[in-house]
Symmetry: C2
Amino acid sequence: MEISELGEFGLIRHLTKDIKPENETTIQGIGDDCAVLQYAGDRRVLVTTDMLMEGVHFDLQYTPLRHLGYKSVIVNLSDIYAMNGTPRQVTVSLALGKRFTVEDVEELYAGMRYACEEHHVDLVGGDTTSSLTGLAISITAIGDARPEDVVLRSGAKPTDLVCVSGNLGAAYMGLQLLEREKSVFNAQVQSAKSKIQTPDPQDTDIPFQPDFAGREYLLQRQLRPEARRDIVESLRQAGIRPTAMMDISDGLSSELLHICTQSHTGCRIYEERLPLDYQTAAMAEELNLNVSTCALNGGEDYELLFTVPLTDNERVTQLPDVHVIGYITEESLGPVLITRDGQEFTLKAQGWNPLAKEGSGE
Amino acid sequence: MEISELGEFGLIRHLTKDIKPENETTIQGIGDDCAVLQYAGDRRVLVTTDMLMEGVHFDLQYTPLRHLGYKSVIVNLSDIYAMNGTPRQVTVSLALGKRFTVEDVEELYAGMRYACEEHHVDLVGGDTTSSLTGLAISITAIGDARPEDVVLRSGAKPTDLVCVSGNLGAAYMGLQLLEREKSVFNAQVQSAKSKIQTPDPQDTDIPFQPDFAGREYLLQRQLRPEARRDIVESLRQAGIRPTAMMDISDGLSSELLHICTQSHTGCRIYEERLPLDYQTAAMAEELNLNVSTCALNGGEDYELLFTVPLTDNERVTQLPDVHVIGYITEESLGPVLITRDGQEFTLKAQGWNPLAKEGSGE
């Protein structure tokens, strides 16, 4: 059977459906942002891991190694925050292609260490090896939380408010912009090469000087995303404990469906409430894309999606950079999007799925 | 600077030399088989991670996916045992090439799960994504130990006995055997193709039927290594606490140098005491290799190397499958190998180093 028939989540479900934890230290295994472990009565240990492959998750033609290092740590810390925890340690495994120099790895590490320092996280180990082809990065983050603070994906209840932090779709727009500038540049190189008839494709001295004026925010969201520790902290300070939470890596729709499935609920989300940045909207118009589709399915925003009891309505709406976009319903009502003109659609996850066939997704 | 100038350990030292843990939960970071974390007063959490890349660490032409899955978990559990700990959880990240089917991944997972079951370890999470090229496997293992039980590489003292479990060099011989049979097979295919003039290299129906008769043990050591939980348990039962311990993944010489460097000692190791299996010796003779060199530098044995106080001499020599191969000395005496004919050589690590130039190693 082709893996693309199942997709990433289908494959994982298929492979792990009958895995039952047998250790008393395993509180929760596969199926959330982190595994939850208990090595002491008064603390839960949270573990998460992410793998980034060159050519699949990043393109070194336009991704500075320092940014890549930073992002590769941040996406893991984001998973710890999404459990309402505090990250403490990371391990870093790298497989390096032959073209990498020591200076390259220093750049990569500098970004990783900067992310660690910003979040007071220790880099405690890893593995460094070679790769026959591209760069592979695998990072595991470990954190902790008090048992009563851990927030799973499965705790949403009907009438809970659905909230997101920040704004959505900008990282995806940043990627579109980078890909477009890359195409333009490669075409220029191609054209120059055919004129000067150099045999070596590296022999043109055209610099890669893409036009990003006024689009810096989109680039920053793609190349240098943030993990929303501030949101977790302001929820705590406001005395709000989310009933369910996860970070938005594959796109809002995909993540909403995870929460609905695991909480056995439906939801009603309002298109007009999706938080958008001006640059995202402008770029969508320029590229002739529907900006709501980008916000729903774009991915890589690393914002937090969470649900809070209706009784927290007043407090949550006062938090900076938090937006209520809808509410949780009974499971039988399904996951629904209400468009600006009042139409109802069933939410579908069309987020980025590396194992899906072109255009399918899950 | 070329990475090969530094090698794996040099690169890691270079990148991490000024990393200072700042979390109170981080007891020990980079530099041992595992990081040691403290999330409770009465337990240490141990974390280790390993990355395996197709074409660098394994060759799918002769490595069954089930064995590969098994081995990829085992090499991580081995690191937990090497800290005198008990493994509890693993996370598994996979990047799959396009040619992989669901059945392939099932085979890989079956091996991983078998290793987990054997060692009562829970598979609690991971990441599954795609790769433009080969298979990449990154596994993190988590375990625990009582604080007083954790054994680092740095605790060896002069007069301590140096011990190894099992026997050495067999996994390396297994690899040589597999590589030889692969060459023979590929030559047969090449020759058949030229005779029948098929345009497709896959079009010969020659089965890969290598001649392994009488060499099964070497293959098993390469394809299906064991993590020596039994040794850790028998040491515990005998009331012996090693002063230093690590597992032998890169070769005995390389690991001995780690212990000597981190414990600030020298050592004297006796060639005649290196434990060898009969098949290892026979294969070395057939391949015209020095069997002691293979035992010292072969790697991938996943046996335990440890030091115990001289006062434990009687008890340790009675343990099954444990061999005393020498003793620890003052640092000024250096790491020394005494050959069968009484000559003294300084031990050098010539073990497998994926980031070194051909033939250099560290």
